[in-house]
C-alpha cells in the first residue's frame, strides 16, 4: 500500500514494527543512522517516514534530521512521525510533547512515545497518507 522508511538504530523496534506494517501490506525500508538522511530519503523515495529521536552519534539527531528534510524541497512534503522513549508523559523536565511541533523547532506531523500500539500506528499512517 505505502512505502514506509523507518529511521531507527534499535533493531528490535524496527523488527517489531516491520512485522505489523508488512502484515498490513506496506513496504518497509530501514535506516540505522541519520548521517546522510537527505540523500538516503531521496534514494528510497518513501511515502512516509518513521523517525527516532535519539541516536548513538547525537541525542538530538532525529530533530536535526527532521529539520534537514524539511529544508529540502524534494522531500519536505513527506509526512514524518517522530518516535521517542522519552517524552512529556515521562514527567521529566526535558521531555517534549505535541505542543513542541512547529515549522522551526520540530517540523513533523506527529510526536509519539515508544512503544506504539500497532493499531494506533496503522490508523495514524492511514490518516497521514489520506
Amino acid at each position: 500500500m505505502a512505502r514506509i522508511l523507518m529511521i531507527d538504530d534499535d533493531p528490535d523496534i524496527v523488527e517489531s514494527l516491520r512485522m505489523v506494517l508488512e502484515a498490513n501490506g506496506h513496504e518497509v525500508h530501514e535506516l540505522a543512522s541519520t548521517r546522510h538522511v537527505v540523500a538516503d530519503v531521496k534514494e528510497v523515495a518513501p511515502d512516509l517516514i518513521i523517525l527516532d529521536v535519539m541516536f548513538p552519534e547525537d541525542p538530538q539527531a532525529g530533530f536535526k534530521a527532521a529539520r534537514l528534510l524539511h529544508q529540502e524541497p524534494a522531500v519536505r512534503d513527506i509526512p514524518v512521525i517522530l518516535l521517542s522513549a522519552v517524552n512529556q508523559r515521562s514527567k521529566l523536565a526535558f521531555g517534549f510533547s505535541d505542543d513542541d511541533i512547529s515549522e522551526d523547532f520540530m517540523p513533523v506531523q506527529r510526536f509519539i512515545e515508544k512503544p506504539i500500539e500497532p493499531q494506533l500506528l496503522l490508523d495514524l499512517i492511514a490518516e497521514l497518507l489520506r
Partner: protein
C-alpha cells in the same frame, strides 16, 4: 527548548590590588548602569529644588549669608535645563535607540555638565568658604564605579580643573572674588599665588586619591562579582551536563523496555501467529511488568533529579492552580474508571487561585497525589478534590475513603521507597516513590503538606502554596 537569551554584560574587573592595568576595561551590568542614570537624574532634580528655593531666599535677602542670586539662579537653571534634556532622552538611551550614545557616554556627558554647574556654584558660594568642592567627589565615585579606569581618571582630572577654575580665574583677575561669609579668605587666596597653587594642587591630590581608593574598592567588588558569575556559569553548565546525562540514562534504560513492549504488542495482536491462551497470558504479563519498570525508572530518575534541584533552576511563573489541577483530575478520573473509583470536585472549590509554580513539576506532584488516592481507594470509592484560598495560602486538597495509613506510619510516607504493609497488600506493585517526589516538589515550591488519615477510613492530603506575593519574599530587595 529554545535557549534562554540574556543581554546582561558580564561584569569583571582587572584591577590588581596596587595599580590599575593598562588598557583594561571595567564593565558593570547594563541594567545597573541604566538604573544609575535614572537615579542621578532624580538626585539632580532634588538639587534643582533646593537651588531654586535658595535662589528665591537669596533674592529677597532672607538668607543669613551673602549669595549672589544671579549666580545661584544661573547654576540652578543650568542644572534644571540639562536635567530636563537628560530626562527626555534618557529613556531612548536606556533602550539603545541612540546608537552613538551608549549609557556610559551619556553618564560622561551628564557628569561633565555637573562639573560645570558645580564650578559655578563653588564660585557663587565663595570657593573655600564653603565645602562645595566636596560635591565633585560624589561624581568622581559614580564615574569610577561605572566607567573604565582611563575614562574615570580623565574625568577626575577634568573635575580637578573645574574645581580649581574659580580660584584660578579670581586669582588672575578674570572674574571678581565672591564671598558669602563676608570674610577675606577668598580675596587672600586670590592675591597669594603660592596659596592659590597649593589649593589647586591640594584639590587634584584629593580628587586623584579619592579616585584611586574607590577604584581599588570597586575592583575588589567587581572581582568578587566576576568570580560569582563564573561560579554561576559553572553551576549552570554542570546542571546542563547533568540534564544531558539524565536524559541519556533515561533513554538507555527505557529504550530496551520500549523494544520489549513493542514485541509484546506484536505478539498480542497476532502478528507472529495465533497464541495459546497460556502464552497470551504470559505475554500480557510481560507487558505489564514492562510498564511497571518503565514507570519506576521514570520515578527514580525524576526523584534523583529533584533532590539536586534548586528552585532557581526551574521556570517559575504565576499559574492558575484550579486549571492545572483540573487537567490532572481528568487523567486520574480516567485511571479510576477501570476500578469504578470516581473523582469529584468539592462544592467549596474556587475557580481561580493563582500561585507561583513550575508547571511540569506541579503536574507531577498533583498527579502523584491523585493517583495515590485513586489507587488506594476501594472499588466503587470516591475521591474528592478541592482548591481553596485564605490568608494562609492556596490549599489543594485530595480526600479519599480508601485503606488509610496506620498512625505510626503517617510521618514516614514521604521517605524513599517506604510503603505501609496495608498498601503493599492492597497494591503489590507500587514503588514507594510517589510521595517522595511530592515532598521534593513541595520543598521547591515553598509549600506545606499536611496528611490526616484513619486506617480503613481514608486519607486527606492538603498542599498549601504561598500566595504569589509571599513566594520567596526573603530574596526580594
Amino acid at each position: 527548548m529554545t535557549p534562554k537569551l540574556t543581554d546582561d554584560a558580564r561584569g569583571h574587573s582587572v584591577f590588581r590590588w596596587w595599580t590599575p592595568n593598562d588598557g583594561d576595561e571595567v564593565r558593570l551590568r547594563r541594567r545597573e548602569l541604566q538604573d544609575r542614570i535614572w537615579w542621578s537624574v532624580m538626585v539632580r532634580w532634588c538639587f534643582v529644588v533646593v537651588g531654586a528655593v535658595a535662589t528665591a531666599l537669596a533674592a529677597v535677602g532672607v538668607l543669613p549669608v551673602h549669595v549672589s542670586p544671579v549666580l545661584l539662579g544661573g547654576a540652578t537653571g543650568g542644572l534644571a535645563l540639562t536635567n530636563l534634556v537628560y530626562s527626555l532622552i534618557g529613556g531612548r538611551v536606556r533602550d539603545g535607540r541612540i546608537p552613538k550614545l551608549t549609557p556610559r557616554r551619556f553618564l560622561l556627558v551628564e557628569v561633565s555638565t555637573d562639573f560645570a554647574v558645580l564650578s559655578v556654584l563653588s564660585y557663587a558660594l565663595g570657593v573655600i568658604e564653603t565645602p562645595t568642592v566636596a560635591l565633585f567627589l560624589a561624581n568622581i565615585v559614580l564615574l569610577t564605579l561605572h566607567c573604565t579606569w582611563k575614562q574615570s581618571l580623565v574625568m577626575t582630572l577634568v573635575a580637578g580643573f573645574f574645581a580649581s577654575a574659580p580660584v584660578v580665574l579670581t586669582g588672575t583677575g578674570v572674574i571678581p572674588v565672591e564671598s558669602v561669609l563676608h570674610s577675606d579668605l577668598p580675596q587672600r587666596l586670590a592675591d597669594n599665588a603660592t596659596l592659590m597653587t597649593g589649593y589647586v594642587l591640594g584639590v587634584f591630590i584629593i580628587f586623584v586619591t579619592c579616585w584611586y581608593v574607590v577604584a581599588q574598592l570597586a575592583a575588589g567588588l567587581q572581582t568578587r562579582e566576576r568570580r560569582l558569575q563564573e561560579d554561576y556559569d559553572r553551576v549552570v553548565k554542570v546542571g546542563e551536563q547533568k540534564s544531558r546525562a539524565t536524559l541519556r540514562a533515561t533513554h538507555e534504560l527505557k529504550a530496551p523496555l520500549a523494544a520489549i513492549k513493542s514485541y509484546v504488542y506484536t505478539m498480542r495482536d497476532g502478528y507472529t501467529g495465533e497464541l495459546a491462551p497460556g502464552t497470551r497470558k504470559v505475554i500480557l504479563r510481560i507487558g505489564e511488568r514492562c510498564d511497571l519498570l518503565t514507570h519506576r525508572i521514570s520515578q527514580i530518575i525524576h526523584l534523583a533529579n529533584l533532590k539536586t534541584l534548586e528552585w532557581s533552576q526551574l521556570n517559575f511563573q504565576v499559574v492558575e492552580l484550579p486549571a492545572i489541577f483540573a487537567e490532572e483530575v481528568e487523567e486520574a478520573a480516567i485511571q479510576g474508571r477501570a476500578r469504578k473509583v470516581t473523582v469529584e470536585w468539592s462544592d467549596q472549590s474556587i475557580p481561580s487561585a493563582p500561585i507561583m509554580a513550575s508547571v511540569s513539576e506541579l503536574r507531577a506532584m498533583l498527579s502523584n497525589i491523585l493517583l495515590n488516592a485513586v489507587d488506594y481507594s476501594r472499588e466503587g470509592g470516591v475521591v474528592t478534590v478541592a482548591v481553596t484560598s485564605d490568608v494562609g495560602g492556596v490549599h489543594c486538597t485530595v480526600s479519599d475513603r480508601g485503606i488509610g495509613i496506620p498512625p505510626e506510619c503517617v510521618g514516614r510516607i514521604f521517605e524513599d521507597h517506604f510503603r505501609t504493609d496495608n498498601a503493599v497488600r492492597h497494591r503489590p506493585n507500587g514503588s514507594g516513590l510517589g510521595m517522595a517526589i511530592v515532598a521534593e516538589v513541595v520543598r521547591l515550591h515553598e509549600a506545606q503538606i499536611s496528611v490526616t488519615s484513619k486506617l480503613e477510613e481514608g486519607t486527606t492530603m492538603t498542599v498549601t502554596f504561598p500566595h504569589p506575593k509571599a513566594f520567596r519574599r526573603e530574596l526580594r530587595p
